[in-house]
Amino acid sequence: MTENQVASSFSFKIFERIKPDEYFRRFIEENVRPDGRALHTFRPTSIRQGAITTANGSAMVRIGGTTVVCGIKAEVAEPRVDRPKDGFLVPNVELSPICSANFRPGPPSEQAQVNAEIINQVLINCDIVDLSELCIDEGKAVWSLYADIVCINYDGNILDASFLALLCALKDLSLPTAEVLPSSIVQANSSMMIKPLKLRRLPISSTFCIFANPKVTLSDPTDSEENLSKETVSIILDTDGKILYVHKSGGAMCDAEMMKSCFSRANERAAELNELIERTSSQ
C-alpha cells in the first residue's frame, strides 16, 4: 500500500516534468490550478511598509511565492534646465539569480529592463505623481528619487508585484526638510521629516495569461504558468476605474469579449488591493 503511494506520487512529479502542458491541461479541465486556486483567484497578497529603515521609503510585497522589495533613496540633484521645478523619479527593477534559476548574473535581463520601462512610462504618462513637489529651490536643487525594486523570490507576475511595491514605498516616503543656503550648499534638517509626494491616483496592475487549449484566462499566473502560456494581458487601472495601461501580446486567442472580462476582473482586484493598501497605511 505505502509502496504504491510512493510510486504514484513519484509518477505525477515525473509526469509534470516530462509533459508540463498535458499535466497542466488536466488540471484546467477540472477548473482548478496545480496550486489549488480557482482560475480567477489571485494569490494571497501581503504588504509591509517601511521594511528597510535606512531607505527614505520602502515596502515589501508578497504575492504568493513572489516577493519584491522596493527601497527609495533620495539624493539632491540639479534640475533640468527646461523643467526647473521638477524632481526625478527613477524606477529600476532587478531580477538577479538569487530569485530564480531563470536569471543569469550580469547586465539586467530584457525582462528586468522592460518592467522598469513600463513602470517608468506609466509614471510619466498617467499623471500619478507631481514631480514639482520634489523641488527644494527652483532651478537650483531638487530631490532625485531612485526607486530600486529588487525581486528576492520569483514565482511569476513580477509586474504586479513590483508596481505594488513601488506604490507602497512612495506612500511610505519621507524626506528631510531642506533648503539651499546662500553659499549654494543644500542643508537638510533630518529632525523635520515631511511626506512630500502625494499620489494623485493609485494605479493597480493585474496580469492574466491566456491558454489556447482549453481556451481560458488565468488571473495572476505563477512562473510555471507563465512558461506554458505565451499570451499575457496586463492591465493597470486606477481606483476610479480609469484605465492607464493595457498590454496584450504573445498570441492570437484574445478577443474583445475576453478583454472585457479581464477589465472587470482587474476592477475587482483594484478595489481589493486599494482596501489592503489603506489598511496597511493606517497601521
Binding site: 530584457e110 529592463q113 522592460v114 522598469a116 520601462e117 513600463i118 517608468n120 512610462q121 506609466v122 504618462n125 498617467c126 499623471d127 505565451k230 499570451e231 476605474g241 480609469k242 484605465i243 492607464l244 495601461y245 493595457v246 498590454h247 496584450k248 501580446s249 504573445g250 498570441g251 492570437a252 486567442m253 484574445c254 478577443d255 474583445a256 478583454m259 472585457k260 477589465f263
Partner: protein, 228 residues
C-alpha cells in the same frame, strides 16, 4: 475637422509606402512608412542559433531595434519585446526547430507610431524572406486627444496633445484576431473598445495595401523574367 498635417478626417491614415528586397545580404527585407515615419526591417533565418537560446521544438525569434540616433535605450527594449511577441505567433516556428530567426528593425525617421510602423515592416520583410507563416500581422495606432476625439495614425505633433495612445495589431485570418494591444494614458473602457474597433477597420486597409505591394512586386519580377 482639419488635422495638423492637412488630413481632413479623424479616421484618415497617412499615405503608406513600402518597398521590398532592398538589402542584398539579408534573406528578406522591407521598408514601410506611414507618412514621415519610416522603418527598415530585415529578416535572416532560419540560421544557426546560440546554444543558450536554442529551443528543441521550435525556432527562436529574436528582434533587435536600432534607433535612428544614438544607442538603444530601455525604450527600444520594450519595443523589441512587443514586436517579438506580436510577430512570433504568426510564424510557424515549429517547422524550423533549433534555428534562429533574426529580425532587425532600423528606425529611419520618427514621426509617431514607431510600434505600428515596425510591425508592418516586419510582416512585409517576413513575406519577402519566404518564412512559413500562418497569418500576417498589421498594426495601426490611434490616440484620444485632450478634447476626447479619436484620431487614427497620429503624427508626433498630435501625440503631444494626446491623453492616451493606443496601438493594435491584427492578423488577417477570417476572425481577425487581436495580436497586440499596447495602450497607455488615461481612458475609459468604452474609449478603449472604440479605438480597438477603429484600428481593426483601419488595419484591413493596411493588410490590403501589403497584399497589393506583394502582388505588384511579383508581377514585375515575372515580367522581367519573361523579357530576359
Amino acid at each position: 475637422m482639419k488635422r495638423s498635417d492637412g488630413r481632413t478626417e479623424p479616421s484618415q491614415l497617412r499615405a503608406f509606402a513600402a518597398s521590398q528586397s532592398l538589402l542584398n545580404r539579408a534573406d528578406g527585407s522591407a521598408k514601410f512608412s506611414f507618412g514621415e515615419s519610416t522603418v527598415i526591417a530585415s529578416v535572416v533565418g532560419p540560421a544557426e542559433v546560440k546554444i543558450r537560446d536554442e529551443k528543441m521544438d521550435e525556432a527562436t525569434v529574436e528582434v533587435i531595434v536600432r534607433p535612428a540616433v544614438g544607442f538603444p535605450s530601455t525604450k527600444d527594449k520594450l519595443l523589441e519585446r512587443a514586436l517579438r511577441q506580436t510577430v512570433e505567433p504568426t510564424i510557424l516556428a515549429g517547422m524550423m526547430p533549433r534555428t534562429l530567426i533574426q529580425i532587425v528593425v532600423q528606425i529611419v525617421q520618427e514621426d509617431g507610431n514607431m510600434l505600428s510602423t515596425a510591425v508592418n515592416a516586419i510582416s512585409l520583410a517576413m513575406l519577402d524572406a519566404g518564412l512559413p507563416m500562418n497569418s500576417l500581422a498589421a498594426a495601426v495606432s490611434a490616440i484620444i486627444d485632450q478634447e476626447g476625439n479619436l484620431l487614427l495614425d497620429p503624427n508626433s505633433k498630435e501625440l503631444e496633445n494626446a491623453s492616451s495612445v493606443h496601438t493594435f495589431a491584427f492578423d488577417n485570418t477570417t476572425s481577425y484576431n487581436l495580436l497586440l494591444s499596447h495602450c497607455i494614458g488615461t481612458y475609459s473602457q468604452e474609449q478603449y473598445l472604440d479605438c480597438l474597433d477603429a484600428c481593426k477597420h483601419a488595419s484591413e486597409r493596411v493588410h490590403s495595401f501589403i497584399r497589393t505591394a506583394v502582388e505588384k512586386r511579383i508581377e514585375k519580377e515575372y515580367q522581367q523574367l519573361q523579357s530576359s
